[in-house]
Amino acid sequence: MDLTRIRPVINNRRSTAVIRGLLAATVLLGTVVAPGAPARADEETPAGPPRVELVLDVSGSMRARDIDGRSRISVAQQAFNEVVDALPEETQLGIRVLGATYKGKDKKVGCQDTQQIVPVGPVDRTQAKAAVATLRPTGFTPVGLALRSAAEDLGSGATARRIVLITDGEDTCAPPDPCEVARELAAQGTKLVVDTLGLAPDEKVRRQLLCIAGATGGTYTAAQSADELTGRIKQLVDRARDTYTAAPAVVGGSARCPDAPLLAPGVYTDRERFSEHRWYRVPVRAGQELRASVSIALDRPVAPDHGVLLRATAPDGRELVRGVDAGSGRTDVVSAGLRWSADADAEDADEARDADDAEGGETPAPGGVDAAPTTVCLVVSNAFAPRPGTRATPGMPIELTVDVVASSPAPAGPDLGRGWWLLVLLTLAGLATGLVAGLLTRWWVATWREN
């Protein structure tokens, strides 16, 4: 067999195999190096089970037969039965009724008519259904009082709680105005959400329920069939279980930075009036990054255009960074956020200290020692305008999130390349160089032999 013919072919095969192997190795390396998914914040288990109270209107108007040809109360009873049957194990459910017992005409007595027929706790299904089945439409509609009592039933706790209010008629007992009651309950500091359901609602009912829902960050639904009602209550009860979180810590921001509350990382809630500024302080060390975000909820009617501004300033009033958002039209919250890294400021502080030393000043510069915390002041301000008749107090709910993490320094590396095109380019360049070098060598050897 003629070896001369075979040899180049073998060479060729071997080199191809080597290149393939190298490329495969690079693929593997590239996969290993690729960054993984960002770690989610570890799930926190809030203290205590989710607590929900259903508040049902059993006033005289619930007799009306206008939902699929059935009376409103029978539709509500059926919905309650199905909800109780499908109740998640860990959810603690209570049921309160209003206007269920007093048959007389005395408004004063009728407007005190609200009872808790199932106490908030682990539900005894049979007992709960029996209690619901005996309800007959009777009296007045003291929605405000019922809401206040329901909030008491749920008690205070570290977790968010939910009230589901089902009514077909306007409150007939104001004062207290149910919407004011809802706003007052929401402002008490314990996280309380009121979801409202209107049974075949008219315009007045809708307005009132929208106001209650808006004041507490809840939802409003117009239920016009038994299925809609059942589906929605189930959804709300499930939502109470799925989305309840530890309630944010209540904090009171101050009007100036020096006496502002000092915040550790976490979520806080506060209230801010129209055109008010609220200050907070956060200690941040060199090499750390401050992350803050704020949401201001529109819990009352305001002018269509609005804005929120979150600023971080140094203790001397110098602005470090700002987060801003503005909008127009219907919205639940307006949010802004910011990041600020302590690195740059530490240098500034050092410079300031140097300058002080040079001047012989005695004032100790903040952040002089590397690990000493710099206090950053956060100020939240809003650009909401009340509509005529809008109450200014209590202020609008603020949700403030503060986090301090390790800072991310600017990338400072040598100018290196990456990517597949780089590999292809370098390989082709190497191949071309090898070929040219080889041809030159051959030419040179040939010339040298001839001479």
Partner: protein, 258 residues
């Protein structure tokens, strides 16, 4: 001599073509096969329902609800959000819907494409929403508003409608799809992704004392460069170039005669 050269060149190109990742195709987003449908939505930033890219969402809601979802994003990805709001019942007038996206710091994110705020006529039975986000960067200065890895929030709501339509049932479908393999062309890395801290805070009574931090940095840590992926890419490229050079040189050699 010429034939092996051409052959090996062709083999090299073929090998490169095989290993080069296919260019990302910007097709209409489809749910990932086997992804479970999410039937829930949160009502605030804190209670947003977590979803992942490719996981379809289908949830019944009331007109006027603010629906929140959150999804994780990696550097290099481009996310496209598509949604449909279906109206099973008649409405009294036109309504305008919006899908808004916020990052982990609740900063509003710009949409580069898509019908972010469409208006549905009174007679329409559904309205489609869409938002394509910017490519997520791996690092950005703290003062910038560039999209960074971490949690993103989607809020779907109605911004303008006749008041009597509030509370009517709607069906919402949403899908977040990600294009890109999480391989950012940027350098630099965020030390902690923008994942919000959702624990209840504590008000401090005094500035925390400085913890006695040991200076545990090794002797070499100061000046040794970080071994980023670029070092590996470039080194591999150098090795490949050297091998290719030797191969090229070998190809020009006259086959040895016996």
């Amino acid at each position: 001599m010429r034939t092996p050269l051409i052959r090996s060149g062709a083999a090299l190109v073929a090998a490169a073509a095989l290993t080069l990742p296919a260019a990302p195709a910007l097709a209409a987003p489809t749910p990932s096969p086997g992804a479970a449908t999410v039937t829930k939505a949160g009502t605030s930033f804190l209670t947003a329902t977590g979803i992942t890219a490719g996981q379809p969402v289908r949830v019944g809601a009331s007109t006027g609800d603010y629906l929140y979802w959150s999804f994780p994003a990696d550097a290099g990805q481009v996310h496209e959000i598509t949604g449909t709001v279906t109206f099973p019942k008649g409405r009294t007038g036109a309504s305008t819907w919006t899908v808004e996206v916020f990052d982990g710091l609740r900063r509003r994110q710009a949409c580069t494409a898509g019908a972010q705020t469409p208006t549905a006529a009174a007679s329409a039975t559904s309205v489609a929403l869409g938002c394509t986000l910017r490519q997520v960067r791996s690092w950005a200065e703290p003062w910038s508003a560039d999209p960074l890895p971490g949690t993103y929030y989607v809020r779907l709501s109605v911004v303008d409608l006749p008041e009597p339509d509030l509370g009517l049932p709607v069906d919402v479908e949403l899908l977040v799809s990600a294009v890109g393999d999480g391989d950012a062309p940027d350098d630099g890395e965020l030390s902690a992704p923008l994942v919000p801290n959702t624990k209840a805070g504590t008000v401090l009574t005094a500035e925390p004392a400085t913890p006695a931090e040991e200076d545990d940095e090794g002797f070499l840590d100061g000046w040794l460069p970080d071994l980023s992926s670029r070092w590996i890419w470039t080194t591999t490229g150098g090795v490949l170039a050297a091998v290719a050079g030797v191969v090229g040189f070998a190809l020009t050699r006259r086959p040895r005669r016996p």
